[in-house]
């Protein structure tokens, strides 16, 4: 089944197509552009381009997988609203996946490309993306790729302490790279941004089972900045 994968939780705007079958999950096309301020401009043309890459039409899609974040809100919403509206028109289920899982899962699990670097059994991986405002979105994964802490948002120094407490030994993601000096952990170079193949794999069981789709609710983790209007200030002195 042809599945569209979108993620806009980081500066990387990703649209990919994966084939999900009983045998496994294969990436058919992937379009990714790194630009923190153009999610709205980039994503739809990339979905179009990915479809053209494999000679498919939107109606050929059987499901849509979207990274739910956490991520900077404005960009994150672009991916989710794109997935939700396309799912509505096509009448196909939409599945949400934690975007940090798209970093931590492939980094932790054995991966040929990461031979020699893959996390040994029991080794813990910190996945961190840039949350702006000098904070990171983070989660911790065990050697099997299971999330064991997070997702949450915190200052890098706070995350470093949590990582030490949990005996994390390696970090991955653009947030980890940006704050490498504070985190003090060896870095895994890839994936720097949520990996679309991993996101598709994380939803594969639900896709194969034909599980009902879900409303795509962002993992905001932060409350909106809403300053209550102050009382009337006197103008007379």
């Amino acid at each position: 089944m042809l599945v569209l994968v979108v993620d806009s939780s980081t500066p990387a705007v990703t649209a990919a197509l994966a084939d999900v079958s009983a045998d496994g999950v294969v990436l058919r096309a992937s379009r990714c552009t790194v630009d923190a301020r153009a999610h709205g401009e980039l994503l739809a043309p990339q979905v179009d381009a990915a479809l053209a890459d494999v000679g498919a039409r939107p109606a050929d899609l059987g499901a849509i997988v979207a990274g739910l974040g956490p991520g900077p809100f404005t960009g994150l919403r672009v991916g989710l609203v794109t997935a939700a509206t396309m799912g509505q028109v096509l009448g196909v289920p939409t599945y949400g996946v934690c975007s940090l899982d798209g970093l931590g899962q492939p980094a932790a699990a054995s991966h040929p490309a990461a031979a020699g670097h893959s996390a040994a059994a029991g080794e813990l991986v910190l996945a961190a993306s840039d949350a702006r405002r000098r904070e990171v979105y983070w989660a911790v994964y065990d050697g099997a790729g299971q999330r064991v802490a997070g997702p949450d948002v915190a200052a890098p120094a706070v995350v470093a302490e949590r990582a030490r407490d949990l005996a994390v030994t390696v970090a991955v993601g653009d947030g980890a790279q940006r704050y490498a000096d504070v985190l003090g952990l060896p870095l895994r170079a890839e994936p720097r941004y949520p990996d679309p193949l991993a996101l598709a794999r994380l939803a594969a069981e639900r896709i194969r089972a034909g599980a009902p789709g879900e409303a795509l609710t962002p993992l905001y983790l932060r409350r909106p900045d809403a300053v209550a209007a102050t009382g009337h200030k006197p103008v007379l002195r």
């Binding site: 039409r57 939107p58 919403r77 509206t85 028109v89 909106p224 209007a229 007379l236």
Partner: protein, 348 residues
């Protein structure tokens, strides 16, 4: 009629999630979800709260609109969406949604100007717009006077507020009087029992010296301050505040300036059609005063019914319909949301 294009419009520039469907000039559906109650305790629209609400509301609102019109998305000929001006994060949800619909249903998409849509919506009520026309657009986010020579190609800004929007002044004065947000409807209601001539509040930018550089511009911040001073002086003197009289006198001052300048624009350009749109155009005194004074000058006022004056999807669909009929090319799929979209740009 059935051969006229079927156009879907999406609006998310502020706190209303709107999806409208029109065929030609005929309104088929106007579905709306509002986050206004979530903003009330803040006394103004909180952008992030609005953006979150748009994301939650867009799919169900689209469902409602399609049901109401009795069509499917496959029947739609083109999708129009507000691409600006407005709140950046809020606009982006609508623009991304329009693209999602456009890509999935393989339809063209038009990114359109919110203010031009406020003008276009009148065609759903009164048919094709005589051009040229003068348009007065007044809401919580904008107060503009413009000349519409060709709604499909561009409008000419004549003037705008130099400080607060008219609707903002209503909100602030309402708060001052202990009335809820948004203030417009409450001021309107209170004012009915008040004497509009009881307090002489200032008319901003109407003095001879201001008319030189700001003939068609507005200013409401001085008026708001004058109301605040007046109310405070009463309170300090331990006297009750005559809410109805203050509301009526304040409303009279706002409407007097808006109508006066709009008719001056008509007179100076020899244009005899005035379109009034935006949320403040739902104000009953503004509507009545405009009708009354325009008649004296031989100007015909076109004001859509109140529900079409406030932000909605139908106005975007109406403008989209106008653009399709005029043969304007659709936007590219990488069209941006532009929070500061200039008035001179009707579609991108």
């Amino acid at each position: 009629m059935a051969d006229e294009p079927l156009i879907l419009g999406i609006e998310t520039s502020c706190d209303e999630t709107g999806v409208g469907i029109v065929r030609g000039h005929t309104l088929l559906a106007d579905a709306l979800a509002s986050s206004v109650e979530e903003h009330a305790r803040f006394g103004g629209v909180v952008p992030e709260v609005a953006s979150r609400a748009h994301l939650e509301a867009i799919v169900p609102t689209m469902d409602r609109a399609l049901r109401e019109a009795g069509v499917t998305i496959a029947d739609i000929d083109a999708i129009a969406v507000t691409s600006g001006p407005g709140l950046a994060g809020a606009l982006l949800v609508g623009v991304a949604a329009a693209k999602g619909y456009a890509v999935a249903a393989e339809k063209p998409v038009y990114g359109v100007n919110h203010l031009a849509a406020h003008v276009a919506v009148d065609t759903l009520e009164h048919g094709p717009l005589p051009e040229p026309a003068i348009a007065l657009l007044v809401s919580g986010g904008h107060s503009s006077l413009l000349r519409v020579d060709d709604l499909a190609r561009g409008v000419v800004p004549l003037g705008a507020t130099i400080d607060d929007a008219a609707g903002e002044a209503f909100d602030k004065v309402a708060r001052l009087l202990g009335l809820p947000f948004p203030g417009g409807p409450y001021i309107d209601r209170e004012a009915r029992a008040g004497d509009p001539a009881s307090i002489a509040f200032p008319r901003g930018l109407t003095a001879a010296k201001d008319l030189v550089g700001h003939r068609f511009d507005f200013s409401f911040s001085g008026l708001k301050t004058a109301v605040a001073r007046w109310v405070e002086a009463r309170q300090r003197a331990g006297e009750p505040v005559p809410v109805a009289d203050v509301a009526a006198s304040f409303q009279e001052a706002v409407c007097d300036v808006l109508v006066g300048k709009a008719l001056d624009a008509c007179r100076s350009s020899g244009i005899d059609t005035l379109v009034i749109g935006g949320g403040v155009a739902a104000n009953s005194r503004l509507r009545a005063m405009a009708e009354q004074r325009a008649a004296k000058h031989g100007v015909r006022v076109r004001t859509p019914r109140p529900k079409l004056c406030t932000d909605n999807g139908a106005m975007v669909a109406a403008l989209g319909s106008h653009l399709v009929a005029a043969g304007v090319a659709p936007s590219r799929l990488d069209l941006p949301a532009d929070s500061a979209m200039p008035l001179t740009v009707v579609s991108v």
